[in-house]
Structures are given as structure tokens and as C-alpha cells.
């Protein structure tokens, strides 16, 4: 028995580790450089969001909703606002719906650019990291211009938006989109997805099979890379997604490289969506008046939307009070991260970093 385990070392990857994208922990058993067993541990940034929701007025929960996933805050703001609006039974003005779609897509681009940047960093290419942040910064500046916030914008309010878009915003956005499109298509290509060393690390590593998708309930870009054509934006349209023309990007290989490519293509699709939205954006009000404190009759409200990390959903139970009785949040990363139990086994320690990076988890969302 002792001889058998002589070569095995148990190491703790995390909770504070440069490649875990936050505070995640993996107890990894390795034999030489090969991983034999993985046990993910989560909960290091558990803030009790679901409990906080039960203690706060509907409006007061918004800043917490956008800190759930701090990389794609606006998507969660929109999701929460839609949940409360559906429960209240109010309709949002069309201009607000279009601007929400636009901001969601901007946020998706920001999230995916951060993913590309971190993928480079995880593989040891710091230049891709800096470049990804450079392009994300342009969008961050635009978000700041619209909302005043960068990471947690607090732009979406229940009943619409807090402010309209500023003057000349769409021109600035369009020129930014042109910059990002050319950078992603040319510079990133040379540095990442057409680079031999990059492909060497990514192709064939961490393949997610269809059985694993069903077993763990993975959603989002990670399954589109495995050839499952599933996107809530297309299949069960919300906001203005049924009025714009876009494709659901899929790859077939299901490895790290396919997941990378799906996100690269989704950035380009988001650019396409934003251009259409800017063209057809209607004029009018951006907000219907909703009082700060209100009551919602006993009701079950379920809303699901596509965040950059997969299908996020909120199930809200109200009981006629000023606060929700129960708010259940489905965070897509919570399911994705379970898959590492199978994905890591048999790969090298260096692949752990690549696979984890390509799954794009956010601990804030996993732990809630």
C-alpha cells in the first residue's frame, strides 16, 4: 500500500493561486506531473446573496445582483430587473429594451475579451493578457460614459434604465467596434489562435463530451464548443434578440481550442448585433415610473437568460411583501465547475490551468 502511493503528491491549487481566476481551490492528487484525482472546493467568496435578497427591498438588491458575476454585471442586472418586472407585470419601453440588449452585448464582449486575455495569461503569454485588457478598456470607458460605473455599472433599474444614452454615444461605440473587430481578427490571430505554440497547448486538451454536458448540466459557450447548438438568445428570445439577425457560434471538437474559438466568434457576432441595434434603436422614454418600495402579490416568477458564462436563471417567490420570500439564483459556473472532476483527471498540471481557464468560471458567481 505504501509503495503504491509513494509517487503520489497531494497539492492544493488555490484558494490563492494566479490561475484560479479568483478564490477557488482544487485538492489535486498528482503522480509525477499527471493528475490522478481532483476535488474542487468552492465557497470562499460566499456572501449569502440569496439570504440578502430576502432581507432587502426589490430595488435595493440591484447592486448585489450586479456583483454576483463581476465580469458580466449588466447581464445579471438585466436578469434581475426582468424577473421583478415580470412579477410586477409591467412592460418596459422599447427604447429601454434595445439599450438593454446593446449593453448586454457590450458586456458579453467585455467578458469574452477578458477570457481571451486570461487564456493568454494562463498559458504564459502576458502580451495577450495586456492586449485583451487594452481592448476591454475601450468598452469599459464607454460603459463608464453611459452609467458612471465601470465594473458594477448599476445602469439597469426596475422599469427601464436610470439614464438615456449620452450624446454621440453610438458614433463612439461604432468606432470602438471597428477597432476591436480589426484587433481580434488580425493581432489576436497572430498571437493566439493561429499561433503554433498556442495551438499545441490547446488542441485536444480537456475535451467535454456530450455525456458530460448532460451529466453536469453545463451551458453556454462551453457546450457550443462541443457542438450543442443551444443559445437562449436564439431559442427562447428575450429583450430584442428576436429582432436582430445573428448566428449561434458552434464548434465540434469540444476541446480548449474550440472553446476559445467560440468566444472569439461570439465577440464578432456581438459586434454584428450591436451594429444592427444602433441602426434600429427607437426613440422615446427609457423608464416607466416604479415606486422605490412596492409590494408584489404571491407569485412564482421564473426568468432565464444567456449570460457570457451560460444560462443564468432566477426563480423568485413572492408573498405580497415588500421583499422577495425566496430568490433562487442559477449561476452557470456553479455547474461548469463540477465538470473539472472528470476533465482534469489524466491531464498534466499545466493542462489544469488551460482547461480551467477555458471553462471561464467566475468564483463570485459560483459561490453567490
Amino acid at each position: 500500500m505504501e509503495n503504491k502511493n509513494r509517487n503520489k503528491i497531494t497539492i492544493n491549487i488555490g484558494p490563492v493561486h494566479p490561475s484560479t481566476h479568483g478564490v477557488l481551490k482544487f485538492v489535486v492528487e498528482i503522480d509525477q506531473d499527471t493528475i490522478k484525482k481532483v476535488e474542487p472546493e468552492i465557497g470562499f467568496v460566499h456572501r449569502g446573496v440569496e439570504k440578502m435578497a430576502e432581507m432587502k427591498y426589490f430595488n435595493s438588491f440591484m447592486p448585489i445582483a450586479d456583483k454576483l458575476d463581476y465580469i458580466s454585471a449588466l447581464n445579471w442586472e438585466v436578469l434581475y430587473a426582468t424577473t421583478v418586472e415580470n412579477a410586477l407585470g409591467i412592460t418596459v419601453p422599447p427604447r429601454a429594451i434595445y439599450i438593454r440588449t446593446l449593453m448586454c452585448e457590450m458586456q458579453r464582449m467585455m467578458s469574452h475579451l477578458l477570457f481571451l486575455a486570461h487564456m493568454g495569461e494562463d498559458l504564459g503569454n502576458t502580451t495577450l493578457f495586456m492586449w485583451g485588457f487594452r481592448e476591454r478598456e475601450l468598452l469599459m470607458d464607454l460603459t463608464e460614459e453611459v452609467s458612471g460605473g465601470r465594473l458594477a455599472p448599476m445602469y439597469v433599474s426596475i422599469g427601464g434604465l436610470y439614464y438615456d444614452l449620452p450624446e454621440g454615444f453610438s458614433e463612439r461605440l461604432l468606432s470602438t467596434l471597428n477597432i476591436i473587430e480589426s484587433k481580434v481578427k488580425n493581432e489576436y490571430k497572430a498571437l493566439s489562435y493561429e499561433n503554433g505554440l498556442f495551438k499545441m497547448r490547446m488542441v485536444g486538451v480537456g475535451v467535454i463530451s456530450k455525456e458530460q454536458i448532460v451529466k453536469y448540466g453545463i451551458t453556454g459557450p462551453n457546450i457550443r464548443a462541443s457542438g450543442v447548438k443551444r443559445d437562449i438568445r436564439k431559442d427562447d428570445p428575450y429583450l430584442a434578440y428576436d429582432k436582430v439577425d445573428f448566428d449561434v457560434m458552434t464548434e465540434t471538437a469540444g476541446d480548449c481550442y474550440a472553446r476559445f474559438m467560440v468566444r472569439v466568434n461570439e465577440i464578432l457576432e456581438s459586434i454584428k448585433i450591436i451594429r444592427q441595434i444602433i441602426k434600429d434603436i427607437p426613440s422615446g422614454e427609457v423608464k416607466v415610473k416604479v415606486p422605490w418600495i412596492f409590494k408584489i402579490p404571491p407569485k412564482y416568477t421564473f426568468v432565464r437568460q444567456e449570460t457570457p458564462r451560460g444560462e443564468a436563471a432566477m426563480y423568485m417567490v413572492t408573498n405580497g411583501d415588500q421583499k422577495p420570500y425566496r430568490l433562487k439564483i442559477r449561476a452557470p459556473s456553479f455547474y461548469t465547475i463540477q465538470a473539472v472532476k472528470e476533465l482534469f483527471v489524466g491531464s498534466k498540471v499545466a493542462d489544469l490551468v488551460a482547461i480551467l481557464g477555458s471553462l471561464d468560471p467566475v468564483p463570485g458567481e459560483i459561490d453567490r
Binding site: 468552492i42 465557497g43 460566499h46 449569502g48 440569496e50 439570504k51 430576502e54 415580470n86 454536458i213 448532460v214 451529466k215 453536469y216 448540466g217 457546450i223 450543442v228 443551444r230 431559442d235 427562447d236 407569485k299 412564482y300 416568477t301 421564473f302 426568468v303 432565464r304 444560462e311 436563471a313 426563480y315 417567490v317 420570500y325 425566496r326 433562487k328 442559477r330 456553479f334 455547474y335 463540477q338 459561490d367 453567490r368
Partner: protein, 156 residues
Amino acid sequence: MESSDTIKGRFPTLLSDVVSTNRNETIILLSDKTKLKTIVSEIKNHFDILFMLMVVDRPPKVFEMNYIFTSYSKNDILTLRVDIEHDDPSVDSISNLLGSADWEEREAYDMFGIDFKGHKDLRRVLLPEDWPGRPLRKDFEVTDEVRNWTGLDLKF
């Protein structure tokens, strides 16, 4: 929605309808919690994953378990609602039928203290092992024990 009609048709005595206001959603109510696994293995023929598991604490009588199922190929959402007693919060685990239920059940155990019978690895998932209390229960109070909890007693 045909799939949910099929499921209801197979177990007419156990299942009853609840009106849902949500798009694409069908809610069915299960009257007997011991038949949960039978129903879920039938649901599994029509739906792929357990999308989420929402537990609603309704003291003093019941915990309301909402199993939400979705599938990758269609937009239907099926909510299976089953009440379990507040005094004896235990129910069969479905994690060996649907793998996506694994951590969801652990989270429900973590937050509400519901005992999932037959779960292979029922530990707390988000909170530390020695955290006092089940925080999402309605009777959870922030006591001194909770306030002064430092986690220093944890054994590594």
C-alpha cells in the same frame, strides 16, 4: 408541453396541475414524496438536466421542493413541486439519476439541512463544515455564535 402531458398521463393519481404564469413553464405537483425517483426517471426520458433545485422554507409545516427540469433541444421547462415535512426534512436523492443534481442537493443540504437519502457525498458545499446553523431557513438567526465564528477551529 406534450412531454409534461405524457408524464402526467402516466401517473394520474400522483400528479396534479398548477397554473404557471411563466413562459414555457409547466408546474406539476407531486403528492407523495416517496415516489419522487419514479417520477424523475420518467421525466428523464423527456428532459436532459436538472436546471435548478429551489427549496422554499414554509414554516411551520413544509419545505417546498421545486425541481426545475430543462432540455437542450426544446424550450419547455418542467417544474416538479413536492412538499416535505418540516420536522423530518428528508427526501430521496436524484443525483444518481441526473448528475446535475449532485451539487444542487449538497447546496440544499447546506442551506436548509435537507437530508437527501442515497446521496453519495452529502457534505456542505458553499459553507464551511462547522458553520453553525442552516442560513436560508426562515428561523435562522444571527446569534453570537454566528457573529463570532472565525473558522479557526477548522481541521486541515
